[in-house]
């Protein structure tokens, strides 16, 4: 493989030990996936931030690297295992908090922007059309590829960090036009209204076609919140990193011949599979992290009410700052709901604390069951609020 002078220097260790290791990893991946060269990336999103998932090994490794690692491009972080400011009120132990803070400190030392959100595109890491990026976090990868027309493979936490430290990624997979074409038409024959409906659509498609790139037809309109939910769910259940949606997404694609249908029955089946028989003692909104409009909606439906169950809203800290300014935070907190910034129900250590979780997110149902052993129920925001008031 042809390397530039700078890449060779990194490989020889002239830019430090961390950059050398990062370059070794990218070249090994390039080799495995038959990439002909490395290409520059404009931004990086790093997953694998929660100490819950990293463990001591991950923490030690990050601290080792931080001795001489420096990021070369705009790099943002996925949610951590706790709210970095308000962790005590959310019931996180002191020993966990100390380890989690060390993880964040190691990233900060490397020059990573300490955003801690799965929706970096809402708070300033917004890739443009055709821009090459190296992102992990499957929902954000799917959003960047599909909705924005940027180009990234599904990176792992470490391969994305390697890209941050070198500014490069191997050119293969979704960086190339030929691999971004739809292979199957998915004709949607169902009326979709809520964020939960779009989450169910993602599961129905993922279950039906796996990670084949679909051209989705029959969805007339969809807003940001519905689409970020769809991206999260289609990536969770199908492993999909890119989809096309007629009239809505910007990428060009050839029109495939093969066609499958998603009916009302498929959507209902998906929802049924995301609903266990259970009492609810935990309501969680914000997977992916809540947008400004969602916080405004939540404030509207919670105004003057009092929740009687644990009610969490996960969002990026900058989004909450705007909610503070708008008075949403006051309304929401007066109603007894809690903000969980920098973190979420999928990566926080919540096992054993709750029995049944109700959420408007299909992805949260999957991770609620898997990581935290909850029973789950998918519902609209309004239904979640009604449940919380019981």
């Amino acid at each position: 493989m042809q390397l530039t002078k700078e890449e060779r220097a990194m490989l020889k260790g002239k830019h430090g030990k961390a950059a050398k290791k990062a370059m070794q990893i990218l070249l090994a991946l390039a080799n495995i996936y038959n990439a002909k060269r490395l290409i520059p990336v404009k931004s990086v999103q790093i997953a694998g931030v929660s100490y819950h998932n990293l463990g001591d090994a991950g923490l030690e490794l990050l601290e080792d690297l931080a001795k001489d690692a420096r990021v070369r491009v705009l790099t943002t972080l996925n949610p951590a295992g706790m709210d970095l400011e308000n962790w005590k009120a959310l019931g996180i132990s002191k020993s966990f908090a100390e380890k989690q803070k060390r993880v964040i400190e190691a990233f900060r030392k490397m020059g990573v922007t300490i955003t801690c959100t799965c929706t970096p595109y809402l708070i300033g890491n917004l890739p443009l059309f055709n821009e090459h990026i190296a992102w992990s976090e499957s929902s954000a990868v799917c959003f960047a590829n599909s909705m924005l027309g940027a180009r990234t493979n599904r990176e792992s936490g470490f391969s994305s960090l390697a890209s941050a430290l070198t500014g490069k990624t191997p050119e293969y997979g979704l960086h190339l036009d030929k691999n971004r074409q739809a292979k199957v038409i998915v004709e949607v024959k169902a009326k979709l209204e809520s964020v939960a409906d779009f989450g169910a659509l993602g599961k129905a498609i993922g279950d039906k076609i796996g990670n084949t790139i679909p051209l989705i037809k029959g969805v007339r309109e969809a807003d940001l919140e519905q689409l970020k939910s769809l991206c999260a769910s289609i990536a969770t259940f199908g492993g999909t990193a890119l989809f096309h949606m007629e009239g809505i997404t910007p990428n060009k694609t050839k029109v495939p011949r093969k066609k499958v249908y998603i009916t009302k029955r498929d959507i209902e089946k998906a929802k049924k599979e995301l609903s266990d028989r259970t009492e609810i003692d935990f309501i969680a909104i914000g997977c992916p992290h809540a947008s400004l409009r969602e916080l405004a909606d939540i404030a509207r439906v919670l105004k003057g009410k009092k929740v009687r169950k644990e009610f969490w809203i996960a969002c990026a800290r900058p989004i909450k700052k705007v909610a503070d300014l708008m008075g949403y935070t006051e309304i929401i907190e007066k109603a007894g709901a809690k903000f969980a910034c920098d973190t979420c129900m999928a990566v926080a250590p919540l096992k054993g604390r709750f029995t049944g979780m109700m959420t408007n997110s299909a992805k949260a149902c999957f991770y609620g069951r898997g990581s935290n052993a909850f029973k789950v129920k998918i519902a609209t925001l309004e239904e979640c609020v009604r449940e919380a008031l019981k």
């Binding site: 990893i25 030690e60 490794l61 792992s156 470490f158």
Partner: protein, 128 residues
Amino acid sequence: MILRGRKIFSGKVSGMALVSKKPISFYGGVDPKTGIVGEKGHPLEGKCIAGKILIFPSGKGSTVGSYTIYRLKKNGKAPRAMVLKECEAIVAVGAILAEIPCIDKIKIEKIKDGSTIEVNADKAEVRI
């Protein structure tokens, strides 16, 4: 006999082969403190990979597995080398982080469990 493959991470070692016919999930499948395979029903269940030359078709499971390989090394419980049929990203990243000699594209069915073999990753060779 010499088997030739592709270098993932360099180094030259020899030792006893521990052969798995099934892929290995390092995250959740191998205890990073003991090096013992814990995955239920896995052909290596209950066996220790520490100090062995680990022969397996490929990695599987969560990408956090790369960190597990690194952690095994830190605890002195890592395999001496890894030889695979097809190395994917999890094992490749783990091998490089932990600096464990690693080769893939090897006809692993030719290697006998318990035999002493030599791995020369720089030449991408396994001598059996």
